[in-house]
Symmetry: C2
Subunit: 202 residues, 2 copies
C-alpha cells in the first residue's frame, strides 16, 4: 500500500519570453538532483560546438518525418523553415528511472503534450504584468524596438492560454518563484496515483 | 489575469492514530503563518479548562440538530454517545480571508468533506507500514495491548481508503513529511483556478 512506484513527474513549463523561465528552472534544477531536461530533435544544421544528443538530436527531414509517422514525438512544430520536436522515448526512459523531466516549451507545443500526456503537470510562468515584462525586455537591452513589440504581442497571446495550465507561477520575486516550482514538483510526487497497492507492504 | 484571488486552501489530513499527524501538522503550522485550524462543535460537556469557541463550540443536542438541518456542518458523526461536527461558517470565513484551513479528521468525516467540497485538498498521512505503526504505538507505552490491537485494526481499515485522497505522505522521516505537507499547500495555492482574469491586470 504505502510504497511509491518511483515514477518521475513530467513537468511542462511555458511562459512569455522575458518571464525569467530559464533562470527559475535552472535554479530549481540546482536544488533538485532528481530533475532532467528533455533534448529536442531538429532538422536544422548543427552550429559549431553543438553535440548530437546533448544540445539537439540532429535529424534529416526524412528521419524527422519517419518519427512523426511513428508517433515518436510528444510535440513537434515548424520554425523558420526547420522542424523541431520532443522525442518521447528519452523522456519516458528518464521518467521510468524516477527523474522528473522538465519541458521548457511554448504554448502550442505544451497543448500537444497535455493532449498526449494528461498526467503531465503544466505550469504557466509569467511576469506580474505586461508592463513589467516590457520593462524587463527593455532592461535586457538586447532587443530592437520591433522585437520587443513582437515579444509583447506574443506574450499577450500566450497569457490567454494560462488557464489551460494546472498551475500559475507569477515571477514577481525570483526566490518565491523558485520555491513554488520546487514545491509543485515535491507535491506532485506525493499524488496518491504514484503509490502501489501491495499485499505485503500493507 | 495574473492576480491571485487570495482565497485559502481547505486541507483535509487523515491517517491512522500513531502516524504522527499532530506533530507534522503542528510543525508545518509553525513554518506557515497562513494556516488556521477548524474548531469542532460537540454535544459533550466541557471539561475543566476547555473554552467555548477555542477547544470546541459546545452545543446542546437541539442546537446540534438544528445545525444539521441547516446543513451547517462540513461533516458530523457520533462518538461514544456524543455528536461532533465541523461547522462550515468559520472555515469559510478563514478561507475567504486567505488562510489555509487544516481539518485533522478521520476517514469517514473526510469522505463527507470531500463530497461537500470537491475543491478540498485531501492528504492521507501514514507510517511506512503496519509493522512500523505497531512499533510506534508500543513505543509510546500509553496503550493497553487491547487498545493497540484496536488501533492497528482501525489503521488497516483506514489504509484501504488512502487512494481516495489526492496525496499520500509517508511519515518515514518527519523532516521529509513536514517538507511535503508544506509543499502541497504551497503548490495548491498556485493552482490556476485561483487566478483572476481581469482586463486591467492584463
Amino acid at each position: 500500500m504505502t510504497t511509491r512506484n518511483n515514477k518521475g513527474v513530467l513537468v511542462i513549463v511555458s511562459g512569455p519570453s522575458g518571464a525569467g523561465k530559464s533562470t527559475i528552472i535552472s535554479r530549481v534544477s540546482q536544488l533538485r538532483p532528481d530533475i532532467r531536461f528533455s533534448v529536442s530533435a531538429t532538422t536544422r544544421d548543427p552550429r559549431p560546438g553543438e553535440i548530437d544528443g546533448v544540445n539537439y538530436y540532429f535529424k534529416t527531414q526524412e528521419e524527422f518525418w519517419e518519427m512523426i509517422k511513428l508517433d515518436a514525438f510528444l510535440e513537434h512544430a515548424e520554425y523558420v523553415g526547420n522542424s523541431y520536436g520532443t522525442p518521447a522515448a528519452p523522456v519516458d526512459n528518464d521518467l521510468a528511472q524516477g527523474y522528473n523531466v522538465i519541458l521548457d516549451i511554448e504554448v502550442q507545443g505544451a497543448a500537444q503534450v497535455m493532449e498526449k500526456r494528461p498526467d503531465a503537470v503544466s505550469i504557466f510562468l509569467c511576469p506580474p504584468s505586461l508592463e513589467e515584462l516590457e520593462r524587463r525586455l527593455r532592461g535586457r537591452g538586447t532587443d530592437t524596438e520591433e522585437k520587443i513589440r513582437d515579444r509583447l504581442m506574443a506574450a499577450h497571446r500566450e497569457y490567454s492560454q494560462a488557464h489551460k495550465y494546472s498551475y500559475i507561477i507569477i515571477n514577481d520575486d525570483a526566490d518565491t518563484a523558485v520555491r513554488e516550482l520546487d514545491a509543485i514538483i515535491t507535491a506532485e510526487r506525493c499524488r496518491s496515483k504514484y503509490f502501489l497497492e501491495g499485499e505485503n507492504t500493507l
